[in-house]
Symmetry: C2
Subunit: 343 residues, 2 copies
């Protein structure tokens, strides 16, 4: 967390003392590090301890923290907000992490069945294959692309290209999902500084937060996520742009199937055709150029903020104008979408 | 949580469908109920699942959620926000709770010493006694008053008057603190609805959030809390009133010594003289008429919101105009102060 904060300050047009609010995104600190109260901890890393809080919505904690920061800025409660997402997952056994991550689901309706998140997304993949005829072989394209993209990203957890056929040859985790369909357990932090006072060529032109029923039992379908659909409609309206003006996106590929469903829910593909954006190399939109959650790692609450950093980098190093981040929690019971404009 | 939400809606001038944002305050859900992602869970209790998030800052989570809700309203991101604080502490052994609560301190600097929060406040009490000559006998007045006040509060966990001499005769927990100096382990929830659209005779005229160094090792003193001082100065300035215009307060008496220190830090008493507000029955200001954390219970994140409800009740049933809530987290590494005006 300290490294990410220092890097954000170093790259900003303001100084540490300009920060008048800190929003920390974190999901698992209590389970993995016996540490709550991360707002005060982050503020303690600054010389002047500005007001601070922690925001959480499972894997969407990063987007929720950004949304909260935007509200702090727009309300005038702050002029310059440090938003830092952090997760330390490798200090405890994998079984502890798997249990703690199930806190993102409904502990009374979903967890007692013995489901884990790979299990949930395994079921979703099976149902999607039944509905749309997606084959196991075609699904390989998602993780293969993400790993290929990460080769040039120095911040990615895995920077090795992995051929498509190796994905489905990796150990089964929750049929039909294999190990290489699943984002990994990661340590990581990401920090950005948002300001209404200091200059930047980058502007957040939409910040939308939506929810859906927490339990899968209460959903109409599991092959489409209402929260993503709702957030996308609202984000495009807030930004006052059309979908086809968006040049690059970082989306929430916690599992390979999630990438496909999310592309469809955001309207970049028709239902059942999301995979084409991975198998067709002529795609107009750049998807997860960073490597996504699969290859960059998924330090839960840091992910939504890391996506914002990656879109900012892509916009600043290209002629592109609009980029979008898509970050969801649980099985998309919470979704946050942000649109960034490069002036 | 469901009961508190239903009661809030029933008592509000709006309907459930008017709620366009939910902020949940919770600290321990992951440790005591394997449940994170409480924003989506609370939103799932409403017919239309509005956007939702969880805010956390240990025992100050309630105040932080209120502060976040104010920002959502002032920014225009929402017009009517449901703020609900919830904690379920009795499903796990006391040792699990004691460990989880230490997440409010610094897990690297404070916890390894073996300290618990009663231990921290025991040390603070000892130091305060050394600096100011407070006696164990006089300290009894704090809990005795809180228990007396709670007799008439149907929502209090303990409604029995306890004589002053029984406080120091109760079992020692962390010398010189006895069991009856400590707020209890509680289950509880509290919900309020804040709106810029719907009418109310009550208005939040100040919402301030402050932090201090998370670890006690990094403080100049432990007998005064800088976060409370800072929040009070800022709150009076925001409300544009003076301290002596405040008629009633609900303050954070997690331990009896905390009530005394907080009264001094808020300027209602000089350093070393806070106890006089409990021993002198002519005090001008009404303190913890609800019974405070000691007698109402301290379901961690619900407390800050319950304080708001209690001040609202006191203002609505009297000729009083201004009331204040004071809610801190850990050893006051986070402090939130809200001032309520009754028109």
């Amino acid at each position: 967390m300290e490294e990410a904060i220092d890097a954000a300050i170093e790259n900003a047009t303001c100084t540490a003392l300009d920060i008048d609010m800190v929003v920390v995104a974190n999901m698992l600190g209590e389970a993995t590090n016996d540490q709550a109260h991360l707002g005060a901890m982050a503020a303690s890393l600054l010389p002047h301890q500005p007001p601070a809080l922690r925001a959480e919505a499972a894997c969407a904690s990063g987007a929720v923290a950004l949304h909260t920061a935007c509200a702090m800025l727009e309300s005038g409660k702050a002029e310059t907000v440090l938003v830092v997402g952090v997760e330390k997952m490798t200090d405890v056994p994998g079984s502890v992490i798997a249990s703690a991550l199930m806190g993102a689901a409904d502990a009374e309706k979903d967890s007692p069945s013995g489901l884990t998140f790979p299990g949930i997304f395994g079921l979703i993949t099976n149902r999607y294959m039944f509905e749309h005829g997606l084959t196991r072989e075609r699904l390989n394209a998602v993780s293969a692309r993400h790993h290929k993209n990460a080769v040039s990203n120095p911040f990615a957890q895995f920077r090795k290209e992995i051929p498509a056929e190796a994905i489905s040859a990796s150990p089964k985790v929750a049929d039909p999902l294999c190990m290489l369909d699943c984002s990994p357990i990661s340590d990581g932090a990401a920090a950005v500084i948002l300001s209404t006072k200091h200059e930047s060529p980058l502007k957040i032109i939409a910040s939308q937060l939506t929810t859906d029923a927490l339990s899968l039992c209460d959903r109409q379908t599991v092959t489409s996520f209402a929260a993503t659909k709702d957030a996308m409609v609202a984000a495009l309206q807030e930004a006052d742009i059309t979908r086809d003006q968006i040049d690059c996106i970082e989306l929430h590929d916690c599992f390979s199937i999630a990438a496909i469903i999310s592309l469809e829910d955001m309207g970049f593909a028709l239902p059942g055709e999301g995979i084409n954006l991975y198998t067709n190399h002529e795609s107009q939109i750049t998807i997860n150029a960073s490597g996504g959650l699969k290859a960059c790692g998924h330090p839960v609450a840091a992910t939504g903020i890391k996506q914002m950093i990656d879109i900012a980098k892509q916009l600043k190093t290209s002629e592109k104008t609009y980029g979008l981040t898509h970050n969801f929690g649980g099985a998309a019971a919470t979704c946050g979408i942000h649109i960034l404009e490069h002036a």
